[in-house]
Symmetry: C2
Subunit: 139 residues, 2 copies
DNA sequence: CTTGACTCTGTACCGCGGTACAGGGTCTAC
DNA sequence: GTAGACCCTGTACCGCGGTACAGAGTCAAG
């Protein structure tokens, strides 16, 4: 298969393939006389694996690790599981962070229910106040 | 106040102040003969406001808007509220995305409870399968 | 009057995951 | 044999929010 075919099948840009190759995620394919890349049939599968890993929240470097593990024996399974569990914990942390932002913001918006005092917006005032002593999210 | 003093008080890097100035978040301060910046007393407050807005999930460009609104009259209050509400919706979307990743990943990890069949890791196999037809998160 | 801490400008770089463009060569169907 | 689609390399750029460094000037205390 040629570059364009692999890209189309995998649903990515041609440049992305070259990028993955540079990153070491895709092995360097064989070449024709002309220099054109010739991919084996596994290439599409490999790119799709990477894309799937990304959807699950893994970075490219982690996708790389998963690919190595996928090529390994059954011992790799534990390692893969550990990686996935760590990623779940990471996602939990990020979710908690965003949730905290959301909640703080919601409380601020609720200050809007109170009428502006002395021509001052309670919400903006609250941000300003919070900036001094970290009332809302003193992390 | 000099640059270093403002930076220390606001808890940011000196370079960050210059960066904010370039971005238009901080007004250009007065200068001494020597070229040294001389900040008014509001500078620290302004930087803290920006930092607080960031903690709430606002980008610098949005923090800029909030600062403009904070300088405006009571009409700005509605605009600020709209911005905050939109940001809450955005946070909700991001949280939902991460939650979906988390849930998919958790389901994959649960496949590990099943013993490897034919020396293949169920988790890695599932990522591979998912890559073909988007079983888990066909978004 | 010197020393060390501070500040100035301009520019480049970081991670992340690509995307775009220039300036060429190649392949294939007509 | 040629037009148009494809491919090659190298390099630069995107957003985001800064950080780092070089090379120079300044300020205040001792």
């Amino acid at each position: 298969m040629r570059t364009g075919e692999v890209a189309a099948e995998a649903g990515v840009n041609v440049q992305t393939l070259r990028y993955y190759e540079r990153r070491g995620l895709l092995p360097e394919p064989a070449r024709r006389e002309s220099g054109y890349r010739v991919y084996g049939p596994d290439a599409v599968r490999r790119v799709r694996f990477i894309k799937r890993a990304q959807e699950l929240g893994f970075a490219l470097s982690e996708a790389d690790t998963l690919l190595v593990l996928a090529a390994g024996g059954p011992d790799s399974c534990d390692a893969a599981r550990g990686l996935a569990e760590e990623k779940i914990r990471e996602l939990d942390r990020r979710i908690a962070d965003l949730q905290a932002m959301r909640d703080s913001l919601l409380r601020l918006v609720e200050t809007c229910a109170r009428p502006p005092r002395e021509r001052e917006c309670p919400l903006l005032h609250a941000i300003d106040e919070g900036a001094s002593d970290g009332v809302v999210d003193a992390a």
